[in-house]
Amino acid sequence: MGESKSETGLLAYIIPFLAVVPVLYLLDWESHEASILIVAVPFMTFPVILIAGQIYNGTEYWKIKLKEGGILALGALGVSLSASLWLVYDYVDSLPNFYDQQSIIQWLEWVSFDLLQSDYTLTSGTKILGMGVWIDSITLMILLVATFLCFLICWFSLGYMNTDPINEDRNHRFYGEFVLFALGMFGMVLADNFLWLFIFWEVMGLCSYLLIGFYYWKDSAAYASKKAFLTTRVGDVFLMIGLFILYDIYGSLEFSVIFHDPSLDGMVDSNKLFWALLMMFIGAVGKSAQFPLHVWLPDAMEGPTPVSALIHAATMVNAGLYLVARMVPFVDVGHHGVAGLEELGLIIAYVGGITAFMAAAIAFVQNDIKKVLAYSTMSQLAYIFTGLGSALWFYNNDEHHAAVVVFGASMFHLFNHAMAKGMLFMASGSVIHEVHHAHDHLHHGDHDHHFDPQDMRNMGGLASKMPVTATAMMFGSMSIIGIPLIGGFWSKEGIIAETWLAALEHEPLMFGPAILVLLTAGMTGFYMSRMWFMTFAGEPKSEVVNHVHEETPWIKMPLVTLTIVTAFGGFAFALLGATDYLSSAYDYSGHLKLHESTLISSIIGELEHAFLPEKMNLRIIGWITIFLSFIVGPVFAARIHGGNLAKGESATPLVSWLVSLSSKFGSQDVTSLAESELSVALQNRLYFDDLYEGILAKTVIPFSEFAAWFDRKVIDGMIKQVESKSVIGSLQVRNLTTGSARDYILMATIGMLSIIALLWGLN
């Protein structure tokens, strides 16, 4: 297409951006010095986009050449990406150990102050809440994920956002906020202390608010954005309290001080620390949409699809995981950690287990393609929480090996999930975009016609219409389900197995989360398959489908890239020892196995590790997981939703096997099930939203109205009482001046008598 060619030319604009990092390299900068650019360049770009966009809105150059700021955003993110790649290149194999590490670089002494000690003297030396850079394997991994995905999603947005007429002349807002969002995540990951972690964490909160509410005129979007912000705010506030406690305990919020100031060994009150960590965990729960602060996530789908991809894959929800991952050193009794914090791990694991199960259950009945993905996100994050919970538990019980494994697995799952979910959202975006486009094409300007382009009941049989998307989505779903050898399999297995290990060998209470995550594995298989089948397999469920075709090149590129990463990345990284490497942040031993063994032997070793672990019970758990997720879930889904394409349509070979396979299991009518009470409850999200809103409507709103009434009537009323009482008093006093001189004389006489009485009486 002619248009697409000229648009590719626009990429020339980002070349200068991409050249920044190489130039700096040539100028003898160090990569950690350049790390400031990861945050600074987007930070300088976003106001430019916002303000220039507002001013040059609608002009030709801005709209066509700069894609309403999209090109600038892409360039800025390109700088971040290249700078973080540089960091990865420099540090990937030469990381200092966490416990010996200082901040790589101090950027600014943000706030400095003294404290009064209990002997009434000031602390010697000024305390500083500053900002610097911290780099370890977790940082590198999440930074890479974030920059990479942000770049791709921005790319995707160029196709997705700019072609939607409803967004016309508004996209500068999108890109500006997008860039800000991204920098929030970058900054949070790079920060070398909890305060700046929190600061960037909040920046993300703001941006999620702005972006979810991008279609501000929609009631639902405005409501959803508010809900997202407030729900996460609840968590954030507790996180803040956690930070206060932490500061009180350690006298600093810097990782380097908190984690390896030897003078603090044995000085820390475990009870206090428990509360600090619990408070921080509540923050993470809010941000990562875990039970019971999960209600915002599904509503957040009101934002444009790239935003969903951004929130769910690249940035926001990972923040909570990152925070919990940073808790490890507190509980790692092998090093400076404090003993007696097992409950924390349990609580985290339970929250994870419950959320995983609940979200998967709700995902069963969702018909909105993005909602399914949203619940899937929730569920998968819950896996990671469960894993981290077990990891913390292990660390605290000095089960070092198990801890390392499950921690690494959790982090690795974060990576896999991010890649797959980013891709899935973009793919779903592609579907929605094209379906919407086709619908517009079909019903020109007919706005009254009610049609939801996100509803899977309007789709079906898209596999032939959208080959790239269908393929991408298939791999993404597989990764999420944990189909052996693909993406998430490598990490999910580890989480489930180690949780069971904890339950079986150490702590019976761990059975709860263990069972829940195991069940969820099967449920994941069902709902992800269901989504794919409903969308791509079977016959078209509405005429719109016939007019769908993939068009925009901006959309395809990220999909293809991520499909490759998802399909092979998991295995590849597993081979490289990602699990060990990621947990090496808190460990002496882990390194990427770059130079250690031959490819074949490591493949065999890895496969053996995955399918035939040494411990028997792990082996059993592993196979049960595979059975549930690989066989049970998908087969049920295929029975209900699977089916061949319409006659004459054919999909690419990559997916056609799946389509035809899906028709092999017969079909089952589930109408009665769909109308059951359970299903209704699930559709209503188990009534959590209603519950919260009911509580708010019954308590907060009336109380605030009461407070306003109280202020107006009682407090101000008292003041007014003073006024009105004195007016009445004044009138009464004035009435004493009757006008009759006789009364005046009488009063004077009384006055005289009282003077005499007083003089006489008092002496």
């Binding site: 004044s730 004035r734 005046y744 003077i755 003089l759 008092l762």
Partner: protein, 551 residues
């Protein structure tokens, strides 16, 4: 004695001059007509209705000047019953100043031809104006100024009296003249009523006072202040004659200073009288009462180092007075009554300060600071209280001024006059840096500094301290709270002047000398609050108080 002589000369002049005419006396048995100048058809100059005013202005100016020049005169006794010293000169300066202002201010309006009629609301504008001008242009003006000079004479004499009886006589001289002045306000049907009430209540009060004085005489056998003091100090316990005598004299002076509950006639009198006269009552007449209180309470009855018998009584009356005044003014809709009640409230403040003098601090610096504060307050009160009444007098030239509506939109009609008025009420309220603030501050300072140190020094919390502190401390609190209360009605005046629509856009009458008096008051109100003038004045007052204290 210079100022008094000037006043007497002025009195003679004002009686004679307007009667000068071409009357000739035919020498008996001859046809030679000797011009005797008195009577006949008068010369143009003496016929001029403004003539008495000029004489009066001149008299008061000269008297004021001489009083000012003689202010540092060394103490001198005259005839055993008068004593000229800095203190008396200070007060006579104040009285003469007030009278001069009144005299100047009345240039443009004064009462009464026999055929003059009081304008009615229903009159058309022309008729109304004509009636006013008839009232203005009147040869019988002279009566007013005679009375004014008589007031001046009474007041200046009373400042010097060292004999209680002389004091009362001089006060009566001044008072009787003011009764007539109040009733003089004939454009208004209320003048007679106001005069009658003021007279009758005032007479009862002075009768009580004179009776009290006679009791004192029975007790001590002399009314000389020094002897009274010696007798008082050597008195064993409290003699009922003495106590009752003092108490009854308090009634008479209480009426003069318009302390509650003797003040009831005052608002009526103020609102019925011509505004300059009301102003005179609220300032000079009140100061006269306070001067008398100084003499009786401070000079006679304050024992060294212990509490005076009247301290608590006076404190109670002070609090009642200030609260009554402020409360009543709060909802009043007649600006003259508002000012009258405010004058009552101010009397309360000053009474509170005087009450503290009786707390056993006699002879100390603190008591002289308090007296300085009260005197200073009386002094500056002349500026802004009288100034405020003069603004109302300006409104009275168009027959208005007794309803708050008449002040509406004054800021638009005449911003300078309205600004001055605003300044006056702010100063009355005690807003810094105006002189009203300074004087009030000094009074409160006196009270606080006397009483705050009395609290138990071991009390560790507020309540135990509050229980242990001298109750006089709460007088200061009462003053402050009352000041806050008073703001409501003072600000209301400012508010209606600047933010209400005027009923007419017509500019105010020119009345240059009245305006001059107002502006002089406004200027001095500011100058006496801050800067060298206030220093000089305060210095003068405190020196004078020094001479009073160490007589």
């Amino acid at each position: 004695m210079m100022p008094e002589l000037i006043l007497i000369l002025g009195l003679i002049a004002i009686v004679l001059v307007p009667n000068l005419g071409d009357a000739k006396f035919r020498l008996p048995l001859t046809s030679i007509r000797v011009p005797v100048l008195l009577g006949g058809s008068r010369f143009d100059m003496t016929n001029d209705p403004r003539m008495p005013n000029r004489i009066s202005n001149l008299t008061f100016s000269l008297a004021l000047l001489s009083s000012l020049l003689l202010i540092s005169e060394s103490p001198r006794e005259v005839g055993g019953i008068l004593m000229v010293d800095g203190f008396s000169r200070l007060f006579s300066t104040m009285f003469l100043g007030a009278l001069l202002l009144v005299s100047i201010a009345t240039t443009h309006r004064l009462p009464a031809k026999t055929n003059a009629q009081v304008p009615k609301e229903s009159d058309s504008e022309n008729v109304f104006d004509r009636k006013i001008s008839i009232l203005m242009d009147n040869r019988r003006q002279v009566d007013f100024y005679i009375l004014l000079i008589m007031v001046g004479l009474g007041m200046t004499m009373m400042t010097m009296a060292t004999n209680l009886f002389m004091l009362i006589v001089c006060i009566e001289l001044a008072s009787l003249s003011t009764y007539v002045l109040v009733a003089f306000h004939k454009e208004d049907a209320t003048g007679g009523e106001a005069g009658a009430k003021y007279f009758i209540v005032g007479s009862v009060a002075s009768a009580i006072g004179i009776y009290g004085m006679s009791l004192l005489y029975l007790w001590s056998g002399s009314l000389d202040l020094d002897i009274l003091r010696q007798n008082w100090l050597s008195m064993d316990g409290v003699d009922p004659f003495a106590a009752f005598g003092i108490g009854m004299m308090l009634v008479a002076f209480g009426f003069k200073v318009s302390a509650a509950p003797f003040h009831l006639a005052a608002p009526d009198a103020y609102s019925g009288a011509a505004s300059p006269v009301s102003g005179l009552l609220a300032t000079a007449s009140k100061a006269m009462g306070f001067l008398a209180l100084f003499r009786v309470l401070v000079m006679i009855t304050v024992p060294e180092g212990s509490e005076a018998i009247w301290m608590i009584t006076l404190s109670i009356f002070a609090i009642v007075t200030m609260t009554w005044g402020n409360l009543a003014a709060l909802t009043s809709v007649n600006p003259k009554r508002i000012l009258a009640y405010s004058s009552v409230a101010h009397a309360g403040y000053m009474l509170a300060a005087i009450a503290v003098v009786g707390s056993g601090i006699s002879g100390t610096d603190q008591s002289s600071i308090i007296l300085t504060a009260v005197s200073f307050h009386l002094f500056v009160l002349v500026l802004f209280k009288l100034g405020a009444f003069l603004v109302l007098a300006l409104l009275e030239t168009e027959g208005k001024g007794h309803e708050i509506e008449h002040l509406h939109g004054l800021g638009r009609r005449d911003p300078l006059i309205a600004g001055s008025m605003f300044l006056f009420v702010l100063s009355l309220a005690g807003v810094p840096p105006l002189s009203g603030f300074l004087s009030k501050l000094l009074m409160i300072n006196g009270i606080v500094s006397t009483s705050a140190s009395t609290g138990s020094s071991s009390s560790a919390d507020v309540i135990s301290w509050a229980e242990s502190v001298d109750p006089l401390f709460w007088l200061a609190a009462a003053i402050v709270l009352n000041s806050a209360l008073s703001l409501f009605y003072y600000l209301r005046i400012g508010l209606v002047m600047f933010f209400e629509e005027p009923s007419t856009e017509k500019p105010l009458k020119a009345a240059p000398s009245l305006r001059m008096a107002i502006f002089a008051c406004a200027l001095l109100t500011v100058l006496c609050g801050v800067g060298p003038v206030s220093e000089w004045l305060l210095d003068m007052v405190s020196t004078a108080i020094g001479s009073f204290m160490y007589q």
